[in-house]
Amino acid sequence: MKRGMIANNGAFAREVVLIVCLFAPPAWGLDLETDLSTHYIEIRTTFRGASLTVFGSLSGQTAEEESPDAPKLDVVVVVKGPTETLAIRRKQETGPIWANGTSVVASNVPSFYFVASTRPVDEIVDRALLDRYHIGLDHLDVKFSKRVQVAEPNPEAEATIDEVLPFDLPTSESRISAAPISAPATPGADQLKQFQQALVRLLSARNAYSDKGTVTFVRPHLFRAEISIPSTVPEGDYGTEVYVVRGRQLLDAEYTVFFIDKKGLEGKVFDMAQKNPFGYGLLGVAIAVIAGWLSELAFRKR
C-alpha cells in the first residue's frame, strides 16, 4: 500500500495529503497514480464555486495489452462531499389543498456528488460493481427510514411504504441503492424509489449532484478530468475515488481527499453563528438598530 502522511484539517491541510491505493498493486501489470490540482479550497467573500482537476497516469501494461485490438482502458472518477441528513417530503391532496404528506428521512446523503468517466458508467462496469462501490446517482449509499407522521391523511399510502420498511422506528433503516434483481416489485418499493429519485432530481437541480463529467486521455497513459463545484457546497472533507476498468473488471483504484474551508470574514461569521449563537443574534440586532438609526439620520430633512 502506498501511503502519504495523515492529513490534518485546517491550515495544515495543504501540506500533507492522504493518497491510498485501494488495491495492492501486483509486482507486474497495471499501476495507477493520481493526484489533484489542489487539495485545499478556501471560501472567501468572492467565492462563486470552484473547479479542480484530477489527473493520473497508467503504467505497467504489457505490449499485448497496449495493442489496438485489446479492450480499452476506462477511468471513473467519483467525488463525494460531507454527508448530511435530509427529509424528503411529498405533497398530496388533503381536502381542497396540497400539503406535505408523507416524508422519508434520508441519512448519509452526500452534500456533493460528482461522477466523471471516459464512457457512461453502465457501459464500463456491471451493476453489481456499481452497487458495491456506490458509483453513480442510482447507487448512492443513502439510508432511508420512515418519519412518524401523526396526522396521516391516507393510511393506505403509509401501509405500502411499510412493506419495504417492515421494522419499527427509530432503529429501522433500509438501503435502497439498488433493488435486488430477484426482489419482487412491490408497491412499497416503488414508492420508495420515487423518493430516492426525487432526492437525486432535486439535488441535481441545485448542481450539487452531477454524473455527466468526462475523463479524457490527453496521452495514451495520461488522463485528466475537471471537477466543477458550485458555490452552495458546505465546508468539509471531499473524498475522490479514481477507478481503472478494463473488460468490466476493476483493475486498480486510488483515493484522495481535498478540503473546503470557510475563511476570512465569512468564515468568522459562520463560526460565530455556530459557536456563540446568542452573541451572534445580539450582533445582528445591534447592526440592524445602528443601520436603521444611521439611515434615518442621513435622510433627515435639514
Binding site: 471560501i43 468572492t46 467565492f47 462563486r48 464555486g49 462531499g81 460531507p82 454527508t83 448530511e84 441528513t85 427529509a87 424528503i88 417530503r89 411529498r90 405533497k91 391532496e93 388533503t94 381542497p96 389543498i97 396540497w98 400539503a99 406535505n100 416524508s103 428521512v105 401523526v150 396526522a151 396521516e152 420515487q194 432526492l199 432530481r201 432535486l202 439535488l203 458555490s231 452552495t232 457546497v233 458546505p234 468539509g236 470557510k262 470574514l265 465569512e266 468564515g267 461569521v269 459562520f270 453563528a273 449563537p277 446568542f278 451572534y280 443574534g281 445580539l282 445582528g284 440586532v285 447592526i287 440592524a288 438598530v289 443601520a291 436603521g292 438609526w293 439611515s295 434615518e296 435622510f299
Partner: protein, 308 residues
C-alpha cells in the same frame, strides 16, 4: 458583483440583494407592514434556503422598522403609549406562538396551518380594507364630507382601564390594544412576519386610530417583536445570515425612508386602499399556490448539517 453568504451558503448578486431590500423597506416605511410576507418568498425564489430566508428576514425587517419608526417619530407620527401596550401584548403573544408552533409541528400539520393562516388573514383583512377604503374614497368624491374613521366609538372602547392617548386623540380602554398585541405576536411567531399586516388594519378599524399615526406605531411595536425573533432564531436554529441581512438592510433602510416620506403625503383612504389591494393580491396568490397541483411534488428539508 457576487458576494458569498456564509449561512445561506450561496454566492449572490449584490445589486439584486439591495433591490429586494429596498422594495421591502419601501413597503415597510409606507404602510407599516414589515414586508416579511414578501421578503421570504422573494429570497426563496432566488435560491436562499427557506429557513435562512425567514430568520434573516426578521433581522432585516428590524432595521427597516427602526429606520421607519424614527422617521415617523420625527414627524410626530408615533403613539408611544399605544405602541408600548401593543408590544407588551406582542411579547406575550410571541411566546405563546412559539409554543403553539412547536405543538403544531409535533402534530405534523404546521405547514398546512401556516399556509391556511396566511390565506385566511390576507383574504379577510384585504377584503374588509378594500371595501371600507373604497367606500371612503367614493364618499370623499361625493358631496357629503368624508367621515373620519376615528370619529366612531365602539363598545370595546368602553372596557375598563381607560387611558388617554393624546397622539391618537383617543380615550379608550387599555385592554383592546394589549389583546391585539397578543394576537399580533402569535401571528408573528407562527407565520414568521412582523404582524404589521394585521395590526395596521386592526389599529385603524378596531381601535379607531387616525391613519397617519398607525404606521409609525406599528413599526415601533415591530422593533421589539423582530428583536425577539432574531435572537430566538439565531440561538435555536442558527439560520440567521448576517452578511445577507446586512445587504438587505442597506437597501431596506433607504427604501423605508422613501416610503415614510411618501406616506405622509398620501391621503389616509388612498393608503388603505393600496394596502388592501396588495394584501389581497398576496392572499389570492397564496390560495392559488395551495389549491393547484404543484409542478414538483417533492421537496427537501435539511435535518442535520454535514458533519465536519
Amino acid at each position: 458583483m457576487l458576494i458569498y453568504l456564509p449561512i445561506a451558503e450561496i454566492s449572490f448578486n449584490v445589486f439584486l440583494l439591495l433591490g429586494i431590500g429596498a422594495a421591502v423597506g419601501f413597503l415597510s416605511g409606507m404602510f407599516g407592514v414589515g414586508g416579511g410576507f414578501l421578503m421570504t418568498p422573494l429570497l426563496i425564489f432566488n435560491g436562499i434556503p427557506a429557513a435562512v430566508a425567514v430568520s434573516t428576514g426578521a433581522n432585516q425587517i428590524l432595521a427597516s422598522n427602526v429606520s421607519g419608526a424614527l422617521a415617523h417619530w420625527r414627524r410626530r407620527a408615533v403613539d408611544l403609549k399605544m405602541g408600548t401596550l401593543l408590544l407588551s401584548g406582542g411579547i406575550l403573544g410571541s411566546f405563546l406562538g412559539v409554543f403553539t408552533f412547536q405543538y403544531l409541528r409535533k402534530l405534523g400539520i404546521i405547514d398546512v396551518v401556516i399556509s391556511l393562516a396566511y390565506v385566511v388573514m390576507m383574504g379577510t383583512i384585504g377584503s374588509l380594507m378594500l371595501y371600507e377604503s373604497a367606500r371612503a374614497i367614493l364618499r370623499a368624491r361625493g358631496s357629503a364630507p368624508s367621515a373620519r374613521v376615528g370619529a366612531h366609538h365602539s363598545w370595546l372602547h368602553g372596557l375598563p382601564f381607560k387611558l388617554r392617548f393624546p397622539k391618537s386623540r383617543l380615550y379608550i380602554s387599555a385592554i383592546p390594544p394589549v389583546m391585539l398585541g397578543v394576537f399580533a405576536g402569535l401571528l408573528a411567531a407562527i407565520m414568521g412576519v412582523s404582524g404589521g399586516f394585521f395590526l395596521v388594519p386592526a389599529m385603524i378599524y378596531i381601535l379607531r386610530m387616525p391613519t397617519n399615526v398607525v404606521v409609525g406605531t406599528s413599526l415601533f411595536q415591530g422593533i421589539f417583536l423582530m428583536t425577539t425573533t432574531t435572537i430566538l432564531q439565531s440561538t435555536a436554529n442558527k439560520t440567521v445570515d448576517i452578511v445577507l441581512a446586512l445587504f438587505l438592510m442597506v437597501g431596506g433602510v433607504v427604501g423605508a425612508q422613501v416610503g415614510a416620506a411618501v406616506a405622509q403625503k398620501v391621503r389616509g383612504d388612498y393608503l388603505r386602499a393600496i394596502l388592501a389591494v396588495i394584501v389581497l393580491a398576496v392572499g389570492v396568490r397564496l390560495a392559488f399556490d395551495l389549491t393547484i397541483k404543484p409542478h414538483e411534488l417533492f421537496s427537501l428539508d435539511l435535518l442535520k448539517r454535514p458533519v465536519r
